[in-house]
Structure formats: C-alpha cells, structure tokens
Amino acid sequence: MAEGSKLVLDVTDDTFKEKVIDCDVPVLVDFWAPWCGPCRMVGPVVAEIAEQYEGQIQVFKVNTDENPQVASQYGIRSIPTLMIFKGGQRVDMVVGAVPKTTLATTLEKYLSA
C-alpha cells in the first residue's frame, strides 16, 4: 500500500473517470485503506504486476478513507479489493491478499480479447 512504485499511481474521486473509466487499456485498481494488514501484503504484489505488464495495462490505487465516493460507487466492502476495468466497465475483481499468480491469471483474461 504505502510503498511507492512509480507504476502504481494514486487515483481519487475526482480523477477516477479520467484515469480509469476513460483509459484505452485495461486498468487494475487497488482499493486499500490505512492500517489494513492484508493491504500491506498485496501492495508489493500489485507493484510487481504493474512492472510485469508495463505498457499493456495501467495500475492505480485508491485510498478508500479519502475517496469514499468511488469506493461506495463500486460497492467496496472487504479491503483490499482489486478491481479490473476494461473499456470503462468493471470486468472482474479479486478480494483479499492473493498471490501474484492468482492476480496475473485473472488479469490475463482481459489482455488478448
């Protein structure tokens, strides 16, 4: 979560449409919160995915405490929740601290088609 990767940028209530919905490539969004243990575990996994798929996808993170509008809009409950968007639509999601392979497998479905 807090550890910075240059490839995982913050997105907010105000910038969500522009950065995620209007994006031309698939987008992975990490919904996290401060003091959430599993978020701290999944953060580095998300950063690795961002590196591995650089150029093919965009990766963002949302602090749900600071951006309740977008968290509410997408019905976020358990945190972390990782959501995949394609063509402005939410197409998939993974909840909780998951291994990199699980996330990669989910993501791969939306890369070729």
């Binding site: 401060p34 003091w35 243990g37 701290r40 575990m41 749900t64 409950r77 358990s78």
Partner: protein
C-alpha cells in the same frame, strides 16, 4: 495523534496497548495465532486502536463503510467480529487458525514491535 509519512494517524500508546493485550488474550482463548509476518499484525492493531479512539469501538480496519458510526452501532464488524466469533474467520489476518499458510507460532507482540512497523507509515 502522530502524523506518519503518508498521512495515516497512529493511535495513542495507551489505546494501542489495550488493543494489544486484548488481541493476545483473544488469540490464546480462541486457539489462533498472529501472522508469521508480525508487521501485518502491527498494522491491524494500530487500526483497531485508532477506531476505538475515534469511534468508541474497535471497528475492523479491513472494510470499507459508508458510515462508520452506524457500523459501530450495528456491532457486526467490531473486533472480534461475528465471522471471527462464529467461524474463526478474520480476513484482516489478525487471528489465524493453525492451518492458515500465513499463521505464525506467536500469540504475543510488544508495543515496540508494533510501533517499529507503524512508524514507517
């Protein structure tokens, strides 16, 4: 309230210590263990203590709530939450059953260990 690096606020040390003691006792009583990575445990305890301070109850820090005050009143996600009490399920990874691959062998953590982690944020 101590502002940390990314703006996440820590709890008072007294609230943190109360939460820590509760977690140690509850782990023993429920036969569960802290995460093998105690940093995860530390972060969750800080979050619970902060919620206890701000909201009056240790609301789970691993959920998004439309209205935190209302959630505290409904009590479902106040730690130990209903899924934990009924089925030993803690998605926050604070209390892990022995068969969980992330479970460690500890049921104790010190304030120093917690703060060594949460001072980074």
């Amino acid at each position: 309230m101590n502002p940390a690096a990314d703006g996440a606020h820590q709890a008072d040390e007294k609230s943190l210590d109360t939460m820590r003691k509760f977690a140690q006792t509850y782990a023993q009583r429920s036969g569960t263990y802290f995460c093998s990575d105690l940093g995860t445990t530390a972060v969750v305890l800080e979050g619970l203590a902060k919620h206890k301070e701000d909201l009056g109850a240790p609301l789970c820090p691993c959920r998004f709530y439309e209205d935190k005050e209302a959630e505290v009143k409904s009590t479902y996600w106040n730690c130990p939450c209903v899924p934990m009490r009924e089925r030993h399920e803690c998605h926050c990874m604070l209390f892990l059953t022995e068969d969980n691959p992330f479970a460690g062998d500890k049921q104790e953590i010190s304030v120093a260990e917690i703060r060594a982690e949460t001072n980074k944020y």
